[in-house]
Amino acid sequence: MKFTLSWLKDHLDTGESLDSIVAALTRVGLEVEEVENPAARLGGFRVARVLTAAPHPQADKLQVLTVEAGPEVNGGAPLQVVCGAPNARAGLVGVFGTAGATVPANGMVLRVAAIRGVESNGMMCSSRELELGDDHDGIIELAPDAPVGAAFADYARLDDAVIDVSITPNRPDCMGVRGIARDLAAAGLGTLVPLTVPDVPGEGPGPEVRIEDAAGCPAFYAQAVTGLANGDSPDWMRRRLRAIGQKPISTLVDITNYLTVDLGRPLHVYDRARLSGGLVARQARDGESVVALNGRTYALAAGMTVIADDVAVHDIGGIMGGAHSGVSATTTDVIIECAYFAPDAIARTGQTLALTSDARQRFERGVDPAFLDDGLAIATFLVREYCGGTVSDVTRAGTPPVTMPSYAYDPARAATLGGFDVPAERQRAVLESLGFTVSPEWQVTPPTWRPDVDGTADLVEEVIRIEGLDRVESVALPRLSGVARPTATAEQKVERRVRRAAAARGLDEAVTWSFVAERHAAVFGGGDWTLANPISEELKVMRPSLLPGLLAAAERNLRQGSDNVRLFELGRRYLAKDGAPLERATLGIVLAGDRRPRGWREGKAAGFDAYDAKAEALALLAAAGAPVDNLQVMGEAGDAFHPGRSGTLRLGPKTVLAAFGAVHPAVLRAFDLSGPVAAVELYLDSLPAKRGTGFMRPAYAPPALQPVRRDFAFLAPAALAAEALARAAKGADKAAIVRARVFDVFTGTGVPEGQKSVALEVMLQPGEKSFTDAELKAIADKVVAAAGKLGASLRG
């Protein structure tokens, strides 16, 4: 909210400097966003008189003027100025920019220069050039008696700092300059000037006004003024409105806008000639609409409070008036509305219509319900003062909710909650200066303009913010004795380990959006949760997988020239269970580009394949503490993967810990990727919980005897999983065999059609004594027999 220093001083009697006022505003919670003095931009501009005007010898549209700009310019001697304005003439008093001044509108620095061969020593300015208005048809014409040589900003009373404060939504009172002054007075920056409420006696009956929607509009006061003239508002009012960025329109409109800012009291003025019958505050009917003052048509619905006459809706109550009954230059008779609208209803209507206004901002925060009569009197007074006319009696429909709750307050709360021991009497003074009533027994009632105060914690806040939050002393939190205890949960520890293990394995951690494009989600089975109001189509569906974000990132990286992309992300997938959100902690990995660059040792570059994905999955599952040796490789990795080059890693048939493999070519196409890409998803929340077994490990001593290695070459059915064969071999003699490893797989020459050759290295670990030849043969026989059960036979 913007206001000027002089405006503030209407309400605050103070000798404080601008700087200390600005500091105090921020200190009490009215954060100053900007302070700007328009005069600062008009430093080089002075009131000047045109002495002579003669045609320019080289240009038809230009004149050569001599200008007198006071003793401080050119020692009082006239200056020659070239000017193109049609209204430039001898005797005109205007605004002169001296060489060195910066023109506010375009940032141009004025210089002594020749214009079409004639020296010019500055510029006579238009309103637009000084950003004082839109007029650019000619140079500014000031009153003939304007003091030549005076700084223009002083003469035009523009030397008035504009202060922009950000008002938190709880402070409707500070949506008016007076409320801000009250806070400053409480903070010791001066005295609040008593508000003068004029007595405006009415003649004749007030306008016909009634309420049908008492919930939405509990009180509707109105007063008519007849026989007025709606011209331009007074200079002082126009100047202030302009200073805060508002455009003066007409006296009636300006008065309502002015009071909205000055006192936080929105009003509405109807052109009585455009109304039929009395005004009623009622709920809108479905199907009704109104053209508002902003020129837009709004479809209304039941639940919205409106002001209507017998024929049509004329006001979206408390938000914006209607265009039809808006005042104009020809308006002579008006009804001035001063109402109280229920904040919730205003907020809902405003949200539904997506319509904001200065009035809505105030009503939805809650205007002072006890300020209807005074607000109306001040408005009517100003209307009569500046537009003339005859004032009617006030019609009062309904009753505003002026009863405020009161709280039993213990001044010790300032210390026990706020950590700031403010003496009780000082607290009383602060609260009273803010308008609270404090009984001798500390029953505290907030003023009617503070609907936000809700309980004693609020009272503590009032005291402390005025006394200075920065004066609260730090107090150490009590801490447990000894070394800090561990705080991370098992899940957090797993995440940390997996993250660092992935980075250690050469993967780069990415953080990608939680939402993806619908088409990308569709590739992964579609998302369960779609945003109603996405920021873009690309960020619309909560990701069902971490891979779409990573694949898109891989594509960007490759396009930017990277030849090797290894990304991982630790985050959530957003799934549904029984219609409720289920967010599953997941690790995603995408490997794209070259696994290995071409090199002088390795030769050609090689891309990533499904086995790279499997290696990452197993390594990171191991880092996460999963029992990697017990995992089974199974199928059903999902449609995103190559059906023949992917798998799942499971603990038992149901618990899927990871899916890995080469990404399906159709998915690659969907992401504009070419070349093989491998991917992993690791489901961290499926990892078995580690049992709390303390720090002790099982006892172990390395065996004394060397292990024995035996190789077996089997002919096996082509479809037999190599792992099944190795597992069978390992299980053939559990006491002796500690490992069985596939070290070669071969098809082709010498291997019958439909079969493959699989070579296993089986490691035997003797215990107390070495194996005898007979024992070794027996074990080998068991291995062959076990393989035989799977259809594999020893190669001859």
Partner: protein
Amino acid sequence: MTDTDELQTHLLAAIAAAAGLDALEAVRVEALGKQGRVTALLKTLGALSPEERQARGPAIHQLRESITAAIAARKALLEQVALDAQLASEALDMTLPVDLPAGGTVHPVSQVMDELAEIFADLGFAVATGPEIEDDWHNFGALNIPDTHPARAMQDTFYVAQAEGAEAAPLVLRTHTSPVQIRTMVEVARRQNGAGAPIRIIAPGRVYRSDWDATHTPMFHQVEGLVIDKGITLGHLKWTLETFLKAFFERDDVVLRLRPSYFPFTEPSAEVDVGFSVEKGKRVIGGSEGWMEVLGSGMVHPRVIANCGLDPEEWQGFAFGCGIDRLAMLKYGIDDLRPMFEADTRWLHHYGFAALDVPTLSGGVGTPA
């Protein structure tokens, strides 16, 4: 000159002249082989009388020893030469490049989350989490933000589309980490049957607002802090924030400025500005050349405490919320927010952290540039 002297001279010359191991072997055979000349001399000793043997013996033995030693020395020399030649022939260009295992990186947001966890663990704060698709009550209602409250307009909320005619309360993407406060307090109240218990948590995580410009992204990261206990005041809040920021930035000259503000879920509420100084044209936390807003905080509103089933007459405390991305940017000199979520590997390699840069209190939670 005796015959042994002569033989020795001859053999030593032959040994010295042997250019290779084969030639040397031939000399050895000539001298010491079964038919060798030295061997032959030795054999003559058996036929001699003891007197003669005493006269001739030492000379012949000396001859054998000197020849044996000369051959061994020559052999070692020749072997060394051969090895040197072999090694010389095996020389490789050691400037050729080798493949280092690619160094992966940890994202700055994760790194900072780990740093926060470490610092706050020392102060007794556990890390809590909560859902990101939140219901209206946890994100707004319980936090004292009613439907029509203007505060809702302060946050541009993403709403989750509901099935046509669905009666369920609207779901939103959480606009802040504050719902985790609610979930924690509700859980504690439930567990303790309303008796409450001291709570100290931080809750880092993703949050969402419909806002996208140079300094805002529709998804970002926040950390929430919550302390609920008996007798907790604004003074504790101030100390905690000072202590945290000093530890995080590893500077003792971190100065805070608390400004009154408004959040529906705290009362009193305070915005916290941190003093900065300008070093090499960049704003650096510490000192007080200027102020920047880094977090919002306050004493938890009694209504919020009551909404969670705890007795606000008995329990009170503070909460704060702070942008993690912003903390990371301020600490590590990251100028632009937007690349945080673009997964550009060049950016990740530049601003990311090594796997072993694990924040610890003893090593310092920060990782030097």
